[in-house]
Symmetry: C2
DNA sequence: GTCTATATCTAGATAGAC
DNA sequence: GTCTATCTAGATATAGAC
């Protein structure tokens, strides 16, 4: 054979990794198959050896992105809440706002995700419930957990929308401090 | 003249009102000029008598939407905070999640707004600062005001992303209760 | 498996008739 | 001011050569 056994698998992997970044940066609808393929040094025709359609790629992108976001938003529950604080600082960092391609899929694709097919939205819902359970553990409060997740996503959307760097920083810092205050109020569990 | 003096103005008004709803529902990029025009019973060619480009329409849509959203998110500051509670309940209502075309532009266009030209983003930033000042007044806390605004936007993005109606309701209700608790903690001002 | 070439479609924008 | 017709560019997807 002209290509090694693992060649297809490797190409698919490169395509997915590259595409995940591109669609988070530029949006799914406005990023063409040609752009996705030339980003890994190939031409559009080869795309269809890996996915039957652009939509099929999106499904896989969202699936992998949700796994990534769960890791990103998932605080390891420790008594002191230090892990949770680290997660908050990382998520609400201005660098995250400046680099959607490397960050969480939820604020990056937000409205577009609301229009994908129900199968994908079920995947997202399941991922969100995992994240919520983890924050519920840390905060000891069901409502507070959903509230923190909404703040994460909303703060990033707002921060990316404003023009000035100073406003971007203020929005992120305000939300970070507000969540940290919430964590301060959590009673440490007895050992 | 074949058309009355106010005809152009009226058509432009209809086009803007209709387009604001359509782009919030379907996204700006994926809603074509043809769809925008046929929604008001006209053909694509006539579009360019009113706007030099689709981008120019977007600028005006965002400008008007921000005014609308300010009104939507702007709580009248009264001592009891009843107006603020009403705003919270309205914004985080499942009906708002189900009808982006009639709701706030921020969760509906989120990521797309992050990619519009700086002039428009300055308009958005200015609008957000107005909203923030109003919530700062109600809550008496700078950070809490940004936090509530982020929760509004984030909760709606998340609620629209999940598949099941029950998850949608839980996310919105959790955020509503959490914000109401924040309002409960506000010391009423002395008369 | 990937490339080139291409079929097909849709989109933004323009020209000219009315 | 609006319509029809059309230009041009870009998109998704397919066919056949290598």
């Amino acid at each position: 054979m002209r290509y090694s056994k693992t060649h297809k698998e490797e190409t698919r992997r490169k395509l997915l990794d590259s595409s995940r970044a591109l669609v988070k940066k530029g949006g799914f609808g406005s990023t063409g198959v040609d752009a996705l393929m030339s980003a890994i040094g190939m031409t559009a025709g080869a795309f269809y050896s890996h996915f039957p359609s652009k939509q099929a790629l999106l499904r896989e992108v969202v699936r992998e992105e949700m796994e990534h976001s769960i890791a990103l938003l998932h605080p390891a529950a420790d008594a002191s809440g230090q892990q949770a604080r680290k997660t908050v600082r990382m998520y609400l960092d201005p660098a995250h706002a400046r680099h959607p391609e490397a960050g969480c899929v939820l604020p990056a694709m937000g409205a577009e995700l609301a229009r994908v097919d129900p199968q994908v939205r079920a995947t997202i819902e399941s991922g969100l419930k995992h994240m919520h359970a983890a924050w519920r553990e840390v905060l000891g409060d069901d409502d507070a957990a959903w509230s923190v997740m909404a703040q994460f996503v909303g703060a990033l959307v707002l921060a990316r929308t404003v023009k000035s760097e100073v406003a971007r920083k203020r929005i992120l810092e305000a939300n970070r401090r507000h969540i940290e205050r919430l964590l301060d109020g959590v009673e440490p569990e007895l050992p």
